[in-house]
């Protein structure tokens, strides 16, 4: 929502997060869980759940505003994905621990990201539906973990339903983002810092200037 999310001396850096994975693995539930569990003050209104934002405090002087881009997971929309991961700073690739095929799909997304997405993109692999682990687990945690380590990914098993590991997933990925350049730019550019310390209804001077 719209209030000033942070004290004046906190620099907020906008970062784009793209959400990939087969349909029905719970991509958007994961985000909704994350966004709804946060303080309202850090939230902006959006017209619908396919695009959400959430500000994550990193330290005393820095926050990351995640712009979360959901993608359609159905196979037939696979070719649209480049539209979404263009300029992404980070990605969460979601699979369903009760569906082995969804991990294979996730792996193909990860390959594509590593080949096509912007260099330096931070990728996390998330095995969702952990609440169903007891009765229906089809992907062993150790297997997915080993794959993630090998492919140099962050890895979490999550449950959008119980919220287990959901905050951890988003917070860890936010903290891993390389922000130095943006921060330097922000501080050097303080009076005009456009994409930074952007607050919604009443931008600081020059904040969202239309020129």
């Amino acid at each position: 929502m719209a209030s000033n999310p942070a004290p004046k001396n906190v620099v907020t850096v906008n970062q784009k997060l793209v959400l990939l994975g087969d349909s029905a693995v719970g991509k958007s539930s994961l985000v909704l869980r994350f966004v709804k569990d946060q303080f309202d003050d850090y939230r902006e209104s959006t017209i619908g759940a396919a695009f959400l934002t959430q500000t994550v405090p990193i330290d005393d002087s820095t926050s990351v505003k995640l712009e979360i881009w959901d993608t359609a997971g159905q196979e037939r929309y696979k070719s649209l994905a480049p539209m979404y991961y263009r300029n992404a700073n980070c990605a969460i690739v979601v699979y369903d621990i009760t569906q082995a095929s969804s991990l294979e799909k996730a792996k193909s997304w990860i390959k594509e990201l590593q080949r096509q997405a912007p260099e330096g993109i931070i990728i996390a692999l998330a095995g969702n539906k952990l609440d169903l682990a007891q009765e229906r687990r089809a992907v062993e945690k150790s297997d997915a973990e080993a794959y993630a380590a090998e492919a140099n990914l962050l890895f979490f098993e999550t449950s959008a339903k119980t919220a287990e590991n959901v905050n951890e997933l988003f917070t860890t990925i936010s903290k891993k983002l390389p922000l130095e350049d943006k921060l330097n730019q922000a501080r050097g550019n303080a009076p005009r810092g456009v994409n930074l310390s952007e607050s919604w209804p009443n931008p600081p001077s020059g904040g969202t200037c239309a020129c």
Partner: protein
């Protein structure tokens, strides 16, 4: 400085009223039951109104109209609306339950174009108005390539933005006031120069097209043919859940999208898209009860096919070129990208894209092609007559191809046929493939300022101006404005201000006023009709009351009416 609004009206007098309200609702069961107690309803929508008014993309049809057909006579009405809104604010709001994450929204300040125009006409603002006038007249003196246009307008807006901060009435106003003026300036400039900036308008005027503008027009045509080819696609082909009310939602969403051609300012075009998306979300919330991209994208594709808006590629390009880069970010960029995704999906649509058997697909395509054939030839001829620098006609095959595949690939590569004949300074055309549309957009999306469009402007002081990327998270503020010789514009151009046209313009203005009023009331009638089709159980009066309370905003009115059930 009187011509501020009158030129505005002139520019808008051509506004095309193609949108027709959906009337096809009668036979279906009412979506909403009418509550007997009108007072309760009034209270409900007033309360509802309070929380919906400031939405970032309130379905602001009225806002559009007020701005687009801006004019003094309307201001009185606007004042009434403002009063109504103020009253509504006094009513205690109840928290929304329909939509968990937007119930606490505040939204961005309401954009008030009238206010800006009035300010611009005030005497302390005269220098700003003069700069504007000079820029416009200078811009119109020559034809510019797209990259020049983008550069000139971007630099002018940066320049005038600084001036706005220096002159009254803005210098002593709030930051919101200044931002409003900058937003107004973008709108004013794009309205006035629309005939030179929007590719189909240039084509219509008969002026020779630059290569980029001509590309836009060609791609419009190809996408349009594709959309026509797939008109038979139904909800189930895209696994869209159908409900009794769904066709009305889709029709309404399509109507909103079609309006994109009714407006000239990039911001307004974006609002049409956002309104369309909002209606789709109303459907998702009420029917599917899920609003992920998994659910949203198929509906947008379907709605796009049904809307079949003209000049869509040109519109997207225009938005990317002339919307302030700072504003073309975040949510807006997401939905613009999704629309582009939907367009590329349609471009490359085949059997595997749909839930359909190959036989059925082929039968449908065959039927479509038969229907399209005579029309297509005519369209090709039309296209030929407007794009003077293409050799399309001579190579256009007229014979009927028997194989569907051949026909389809014809549609796809038609654009390539035209390319070699055109000027050699078009590196982009040669790399065009079957999926050229997404490719060129992706390039635009991802490219930096130093793009490969430079050949065309080689001997040019602004060498490094490629097509600007519409979005960069780390965009540095106005890095380009530094290159603009700022003093030069006002100094050299001020002399060119034409003699006093105020009288003539004022006469035109009063004629415009009548026209604007007429269009406006017709639009309202259409909105009422559309709502009535969706909510047959409500009386017209109730719908009108709701519509007024929502300041004519269609999507908010739908939300209200839904909530009143």
């Amino acid at each position: 400085m009187d011509n501020g609004s009158s030129n505005e009206q002139l520019a808008n007098s051509k506004v095309n009223e193609q949108t027709k309200a959906s009337q096809d609702g009668g036979e279906e069961k009412p979506l909403i039951k009418l509550d007997d107690n009108l007072d309760v309803q009034k209270l409900a929508y007033e309360q509802h109104n309070k929380k919906h008014d400031p939405e970032v993309f309130s379905g602001n049809n009225t806002e559009h109209h007020d701005e687009e057909k801006a004019d003094n006579a309307l201001e009185e009405k606007q004042a009434t609306y403002d009063k109504a809104e103020a009253q509504n604010d006094a009513v205690e709001g109840v928290p929304s339950t329909s939509n968990g994450y937007s119930e606490t929204e505040i939204g961005e300040p309401v954009f008030d174009f009238h206010r800006f125009l009035e300010q611009l006409r005030s005497s302390p603002a005269e220098p700003v108005a003069k700069y504007l006038k000079s820029f416009l007249s200078e811009f119109l003196k020559r034809r510019w390539s797209v990259s020049y246009q983008v550069k000139l307008i971007q630099d002018f807006l940066a320049f005038i933005g600084e001036k706005i901060e220096q002159y009254e009435p803005w210098v002593s106003g709030s930051q919101a006031e200044i931002d409003n003026a900058k937003e107004g300036m973008e709108k004013l400039v794009s309205n006035r120069l629309y005939a030179r900036l929007f590719s189909p308008e240039i084509a219509k005027s008969g002026m020779p097209l630059s290569s980029e503008h001509s590309d836009d027009v060609e791609e419009d045509h190809i996408l349009s043919q594709k959309m026509e080819l797939f008109q038979w696609v139904r909800e189930e082909h895209l696994d869209i859940k159908r409900a009794k009310s769904s066709s009305k939602f889709f029709r309404l969403a399509a109507d909103e999208l079609q309006r994109i051609n009714d407006y000239h300012a990039p911001r307004d075009k974006i609002i049409c898209l956002m309104n369309c998306c909002k209606v789709i979300y109303s459907y998702l919330r009420n029917v599917v009860r899920e609003e992920s991209a998994d659910a949203f994208v198929p509906v947008l594709i379907f709605v796009l096919l049904k809307a079949h808006p003209e000049h869509l590629v040109s519109n997207i390009q225009y938005i990317q070129r002339f919307r302030s880069p700072e504003k073309l970010s975040g949510e807006v960029l997401y939905y613009l990208s999704t629309l582009m995704g939907a367009m590329s999906f349609i471009q490359t649509l085949d059997t595997n894209s749909l839930t359909i058997s190959e036989e059925e697909f082929n039968v449908e395509i065959e039927k479509s092609l038969k229907k399209m054939e005579p029309k297509t030839i005519k369209e090709r001829e039309n296209l030929l007559s407007v794009s003077s620098n293409t050799q399309e006609g001579s190579q256009m095959p007229n014979e009927t191809k028997s194989s569907i595949q051949q026909e389809m690939s014809n549609l796809q590569i038609e654009n390539e046929i035209t390319s070699p004949g055109e000027s050699s300074s078009r590196p982009r055309s040669t790399s065009k493939s079957l999926s050229f549309v997404p490719e060129s957009w992706l390039k635009t999306l991802s490219s930096g300022l130093n793009d490969n469009d430079q050949q065309e402007t080689e001997d040019d002081p602004y060498l490094n101006v490629g097509e600007r990327p519409p979005y960069k998270v780390s965009r540095k503020y106005s890095s380009s404005s530094a290159r603009m010789p700022k003093q030069r514009i006002p100094d050299t151009l001020e002399n060119d201000i034409p003699p006093n046209n105020a009288l003539r313009e004022a006469k035109n203005a009063s004629l415009e006023t009548v026209e604007v009023e007429r269009i406006r009331s017709r639009e309202k009638a259409e909105a009422v009709a559309a709502l009535q089709a969706m909510f047959p159980a409500f009386d017209t009066e109730v719908i009108e009351v709701v519509l007024n309370a929502q300041k004519g905003k269609l999507t908010s009115s739908i939300d209200s009416l839904l909530e009143m059930s």
